[in-house]
Every structure is written in C-alpha cells, then in structure tokens.
Amino acid sequence: MKWKMKEIVLTVILAVACGVIYLGWSTLWIPISALVGPMGAHFMFGIWVIASPITACIIRKPGAAFISETAAAAVELLTGSHFGLSALMVGVFQGIGAEIAFALFRYKRYHVSVLMLSGALAACGSMAYNLLANGFSYYTAEVLVSTLVIQVISGILLGGLLAKVVVGSLVKTGVLDQYEIMKERRKQGHADEYVSGL
C-alpha cells in the first residue's frame, strides 16, 4: 500500500509530539523509581508505547505502528534523553511488538481490543530487549516475571485503552476527517457520523 504524503507527515508529527511527551515522562520516571524502586515505576510504562496504537489506528497501514514508535524514540534520543541509545533500541523493539498485533489481524481490525493487544505485545518487545541487553539479568526470576506482568498490564491500559480514548477525542474534533480511520467509518455507512458545521 502506497503512503500518501499527508500520512507520512502525520506519522512523523504524531511521533514528534509523542517524543516530546515521552521526554517529559522520562524525567518524571526517575525520581519516582528512585523512591519506590523500579518495580513501582513500571506502572508508568504504558505511556511509552502509545504512539503505535494511536498512529496505526488513524492511518491503518502496515508499518505505521513500527515507524511511529521508532521515530518517537529517535526524537527522544535527539532531544537529549538520559536513556540515550536504549531509548531508541527499546523503541524499535516496542514498535515491532506493536506492529505484530496489527499484522495478526492483517491490518484490517482496529478495535480497542487490538489496540490493547498492541500495548501488551509492545511490553513484551520491551522485555525482550531488556533481556538481551540490560541489567535485567541481574534481577531474580520472580522480579522479571512480575515486571513483565506489570508492564503488560500498563501497556494494555496506558498504551492501548488510553490510545482509544485519545483517538476518540480527536475524531470528535473533526481533525481526522481526511484520514483512513474516518474513510472506513464512512464506507461502513455510518450516516450518523456526519459532522455538522466546521
């Protein structure tokens, strides 16, 4: 499927917006984790994977989930994240995880459950990266499992569900009218989806 220019710019700009928010989230994360330990802070994980479900749900093209998460991570890296390359690498793994969810449904279903699945798989991707690269091998097995569980839950709620809420609000404001998400709604004959005025 060929990408339209406006879809490309939209993907990049959403990724940039997410990247800027991620950076704020990262600076919030450190003091919290220094206080309650990394375990408690893992509840905040889900926000870092929200770029994928939001973009994929709007654009509905193969690659949207992966590209947006990777680009958001790159923005975080370029604007001076203390996670440095890890931010980018985690972004890549999370993006792959999220992409798998949409690929499983052949890029045809963007129900909230698929978005939640993408959040969960992104959490798994993040864990895969940590196992490959980082200090996680340093922790015990129970810690690992509970981290994964917490991150998956957070990915489902803060990533998938929240993405649905955000996209829902965006749809109401009418800014998405020119994108695939609204086109499909129109095709399905939601005559009541017309926006008045504007």
Partner: protein, 247 residues
C-alpha cells in the same frame, strides 16, 4: 540541531551517527565501570578536542544529567541483590555488587548522553537528512517528511510549557497520570494533525512527488576523513574494552 564549524561537524552525518551507535552498542556490552568510565571520558575528550566544545558548554549541557546520574546510581545500588551488604534500611539494600553495578549503569547513561550530544551538537539536521537520502538510500518522501516533522520539536516544546503555565493559572493539577496525559496530548495532537495536513498539502502543491527523480541543492558524500574518524574511534573503544580482559 545545528553544525558548529568544528572538524567533527564537517564529517558525513550518517557515518558519524553509525560510529556513535556502534560505540553505544559496545557500552551496552561492557559491564565493568572502569571501562565504561574510560569510554565516557573519551567522548568528553573528543568533544573538547575536535567537537568544538568549550568546558562551560560541556558543564551546562551535562550538569542536569549528573542529578540523574546520582539517582540512577542510587536506584541500581539500593534495590539490587548481592552477598556483601554494606548498608540497609527499610526496603533499601546496598551491597558491594550493587554499587559496582550501579556505577556501570549510571556511567553508561552518561556515556549515552555524551555520545548523543557529540552527534547532535555537531550535526546540521538538513545535512543529516540529506546523508540519509544519499548514503542510506532513504526515500525522499520519508526524508522530507521527517524534516517537515522535526521542525516542530521546538514548537511542541514551547506549547507544552505554555500549557503548564495556563494550567497553573487555572489551578489544574494532574492527580491522575493517564488523565494528565490525555490533557497534555490532545492540544498537541490536534494542532499537530492540522499542521501536518497543511504542510503535506503545501509540499505537494509545490510539485513534490516523493520520487527519486529530482535534483538536489545539497548533497553529502563520504570522504577519507570519515573513514579516519570511524576507524579511529572503533579501534580506541574496542581497545579499551579488550584491555579489560587482558588486565
């Protein structure tokens, strides 16, 4: 992202980025804090000698990260496991192993930041994107799309801080994290989507098709000095790493 007239900023951006990414990979593989320290110091030395950094600039840019350094060190040191307990209180548990591990992780963080800064402070964003087109075969459609989007980083940052000021006046405090996210993201996203549509239309209205069939105002090439920097950096970093095994 701007160039700064240093020798480092005259290098091919894609090649420089690749070199720094490789160093970051090696940093991830190294688990000894002395080697990590040495590689971090190397970045500082490169910055000062050929990166055009002044000491004052270095301090200004890195100082905020020393706070993180301390916090990350503490986080790794106080929640780790290990045999030789040095100090423990409440749920904090500091051991000899966790201290050394904490030092490695926090120095690695500093290393990431410094190598990242070494790239961003010496690279012009446009020539970086151009080198992605010319050296990495990125399609112009995506390359120019990236440029158009990256222009918005400062705009979004300033909007975020304006929003914080506006919320302060209205006495809004985020009690709940996901609500706070929705609150901050909605204005950014709606603005962003409107602007992205306008930009894409403006670009296409000016005849941009995204195909490779176009001429270029700026082109980037690979030169001898790029290989010198790349190989030099690799040899030194690899040397430090191997020195750890030998000693």
């Amino acid at each position: 992202m701007k160039g700064n007239h240093s020798w480092l900023s005259s290098l091919n951006p894609a090649c420089k980025l690749f070199a720094h990414l490789l160093v970051m990979f090696m940093l991830m593989a190294i688990s000894d804090f002395r080697e990590t320290l040495a590689i971090w110091l190397l970045a500082v030395a490169i910055g000062i000698s050929i990166g055009g950094w002044r000491i004052s600039y270095l301090l200004k840019r890195l100082l905020p990260y020393f706070g993180f350094f301390v916090m990350i060190f503490w986080m790794m040191a106080a929640f780790g496991k290990g045999e030789e307990t040095i100090w423990s209180w409440a749920w904090f548990h500091v051991t000899k192993e966790s201290v050394s591990h904490g030092l490695t992780i926090s120095l690695r963080m500093l290393g990431f930041v410094t190598y990242g800064l070494l790239f961003t402070s010496t690279t012009d964003l446009t020539s970086f994107i151009m080198s992605l087109i010319h050296q990495c075969r990125l399609s112009p459609k995506w390359a120019y799309g990236l440029l158009a989007g990256f222009r918005f980083i400062p705009l979004f940052q300033s909007e975020l801080s304006q929003m914080k000021a506006a919320h302060k006046i209205r006495g809004y405090k985020q009690k709940n994290s996901w609500k706070a996210f929705a609150r901050y993201s909605l204005p950014l996203f709606t603005q962003g989507i409107r602007k992205s549509e306008r930009i894409a239309i403006a670009m296409e209205a000016r005849g941009f098709t995204g195909s490779r069939d176009r001429t270029y105002y700026q082109t980037t090439k690979l030169a001898g000095k790029d290989f010198v920097y790349f190989i030099g950096l690799m040899v030194v970093v690899f040397g430090v790493w191997m020195a750890g095994f030998v000693l």
